[in-house]
């Protein structure tokens, strides 16, 4: 039975099937993610065993057409999947976000028919795992400056360069890599095991510990002509992918908020100090009410954002607003929840410290909080605050 937080009857805005999708993912997270996630987080290990099951549930590329083995859901249902996954863990949601929004979406949007027929069904079932390589060690917020380079050679391209902060990199069967060909950014499919390509895992993370983060290194890697995404041309194409992922993040972190709020509320009712449960004290109530209010606001943003997306009216700046706002309040809520739990909040007996640590990454990746501020600043003033 689905249990969420619905202070403003947003459920009345959801269709029967949207609610069923949400309940399905909720049940999966309850039964298969929550019992194992703390141990994986402790060990710094991605729960690989969940991939096949997530494929069977059709969680990958869930908004893409049925002919490729996908569920062909609308954007609201897609968002609800992300929300429920991230109630479990941001790392699990990240895995699905990358597979769906950053690998399947660009193949679907910029790929040839052959590329779609070959890869989308494998990615939908989870038989193949993908990653997305745009960010480089020296080019994060300004990806237009990237230096990974493709040169035309007989029958294909020669790729040189390095990528960093790549979710799923080490475990990926294919990488969607963005590189400059004659000075213009293009997307390439790089297959695991080709000569000169390696993807070492980045260690020592205090955040997203149940997710794989990697470098990608290309040394004279030969990419056949058939692995160029033929309709990808210019940075805009890569940014279109990020926009998909940001949309999912805005929904996803709302799930982390709900998890942290519920942990804080439950704890505040059972933990007694002095004469009564700490939920009876004004300072705790203020925290709980902040959480409730911000979650409710995020839910309002998400549902309208989803409806606009399905109507084809969603602007990328609106996605920036939701991503920026929701990540910030999610992190605030996670920290506040930790405060309500006192010392217990730092233990992995409770999910809040894991969410708080994860959300530090989520606030930064797919466009930092600061960059989304500047995107919105430019949108309302017409004046770009960064060098173009």
């Amino acid at each position: 039975m689905y249990k969420g937080l619905d202070y403003y009857s947003f459920d009345s805005l959801l269709s029967e099937d949207e609610k069923l999708v949400r309940e399905l993912v909720y049940d999966f997270v309850q039964a298969d993610v929550l019992p194992i996630i703390e141990e994986h987080n402790r060990q710094g290990r991605f729960p690989f065993e969940l991939v096949q099951k997530m494929g069977e549930l059709n969680l990958f590329g869930a908004n893409l057409p049925a002919r490729y083995g996908c569920a062909e859901l609308n954007s609201v249902a897609y968002g609800l999947i992300m929300q429920e996954l991230e109630r479990g863990d941001s790392g699990i949601r990240s895995f699905v976000s990358v597979q769906s929004g950053l690998v399947m979406y660009p193949i679907f949007t910029f790929g040839s028919d052959e590329q779609k027929e070959k890869w989308l069904p494998l990615l939908a079932s989870g038989e193949a795992i993908g990653c997305f390589g745009l960010t480089e060690p020296d080019f994060g917020s300004n990806p237009g400056g990237l230096v990974t380079k493709a040169e035309k050679v007989t029958g294909g391209y020669k790729l040189n360069g390095a990528k960093m902060w790549i979710t799923n990199g080490t475990i990926a069967d294919i990488a969607i890599v963005w590189a400059k060909l004659d000075g213009v950014i293009h997307g390439f499919i790089v297959e695991k095991g080709v000569k000169g390509y390696s993807a070492p895992e980045m260690k020592g993370k205090h955040s997203l510990r149940a997710s794989v983060t990697s470098e990608l290194v290309f040394e004279d890697v030969f990419i056949p002509d058939s692995n160029l995404l033929p309709n990808s041309r210019g940075l805009k194409c890569a940014l279109m992918c990020l926009n998909q992922a940001r949309y999912g993040i805005a929904w996803g972190v709302t799930g982390a908020m709900i998890a942290c709020y519920q942990a804080a509320l439950d704890y505040s009712l059972s933990r007694k100090q002095f004469s009564k449960p700490i939920g009876g004290y004004q300072i705790t109530q203020q925290k709980l009410v902040y959480m409730l209010t911000e979650i409710t606001k995020a839910q309002a943003l998400n549902i309208q954002m989803g409806r606009l997306k399905d109507a084809g009216q969603l602007r990328f700046q609106q996605v920036s607003l939701a991503k920026r706002n929701n990540c910030e309040v999610a992190l605030n809520i996670a920290r506040m929840s930790r405060e309500v739990l006192g010392a217990n909040g730092i233990l992995d007996e409770y999910p809040v410290m894991r969410h708080a640590a994860n959300l530090e990454s989520v606030k930064t990746y797919e466009g930092t909080h600061e960059m989304h501020t500047l995107i919105l600043g430019e949108d309302i003033t017409g004046l770009p605050a960064f060098d173009n």
Binding site: M1, E16, L20, E23, D27, F28, E56, A66, E72
Partner: protein, 248 residues
């Protein structure tokens, strides 16, 4: 073979249930509704048999439009067709069973599954009534089932053990926890279910044989009484058992 699964849409028993102000039922405002948990085992078993032997799985539900949510869930798990029977004025167990039996006869289903009981009123008799009305064999509270042709071997829970029953189709089986592990729906299943039209039929009802007079909440528990903490309290306790509680 056509297989019928009768499912119910019930309040989540994990939530607090309140009696309505006029005592005619429960206060449904704010209650969360779910597919009756025992019916999940019924659906799973029907799907397993369909996968093995082929056929069509019909999901039947007696109740208001909200029951469509539960029918859709069953369709999302893989059932083929959904039928909702609109309740008439009387909805006691016998009328529910009559309405279901009429549909099952019309659909020519020789195998019928229900949960062993619905967790709303917990009467636990619709399955047996169905069998009687249809003239089918019945195994209630089944925890294991094997069907081979028309032969049925089922195990049911009894006090302190299991009873193995051999019977034949046509039959009604009421499902108990442990019969199987219900599957998840898949997103593709949910989307396919969305496209299906749930057929809606009117129930033919007769005068009810059971009429509910009113609903009352249980009396609030009173605080316990401590008579003492050692052997000195025993005579007083015995006196209380005899005279106050009148247990012996």
């Amino acid at each position: 073979m056509n297989i019928a699964v009768c499912v119910n849409h019930v309040p989540d028993t994990a939530a607090k249930v309140k009696v309505s102000e006029d005592h005619s039922g429960i206060d449904t405002a704010g209650a969360a509704w779910i597919l009756n948990p025992y019916d999940e085992f019924a659906i799973e078993e029907a799907l397993k048999i369909k996968e093995k032997t082929g056929g069509t799985v019909y999901v039947l539900s007696f109740g208001p439009a909200e029951n469509n949510e539960t029918i859709r869930k069953a369709l999302g798990m893989g059932a083929d067709e959904g039928i909702r029977i609109k309740p008439g004025t009387a909805a006691d167990s016998l009328n529910v069973a009559r309405a279901l039996a009429a549909q099952i006869t019309a659909l020519d289903c020789k195998l019928v599954f229900t949960g062993k009981q619905s967790v709303d009123y917990d009467n636990g008799i619709v399955g047996q009534l169905l069998a009687e009305l249809l003239g089918y064999n019945c195994v209630s509270v089944a925890v294991a089932l094997q069907i081979d042709g028309t032969s049925v071997v089922a195990e049911r829970e009894i006090e302190g053990g299991r009873e193995v029953i051999q019977t034949t189709l046509p039959a009604v089986i009421t499902a108990q926890k442990g019969l199987n592990e219900p599957r998840y729906a898949s997103l593709k299943g949910i989307m396919a279910a969305k496209k299906k039209v749930i057929q809606e039929v009117e129930a033919v009802t007769m005068d009810p044989v059971v009429v509910t007079q009113s609903f009352e909440s249980p009396a609030p528990k009173t605080a316990g009484k401590i008579l003492g903490t050692d052997v000195q309290a025993v005579p007083e306790l015995i006196k209380a058992i005899h005279e106050e509680m009148k247990l012996v």
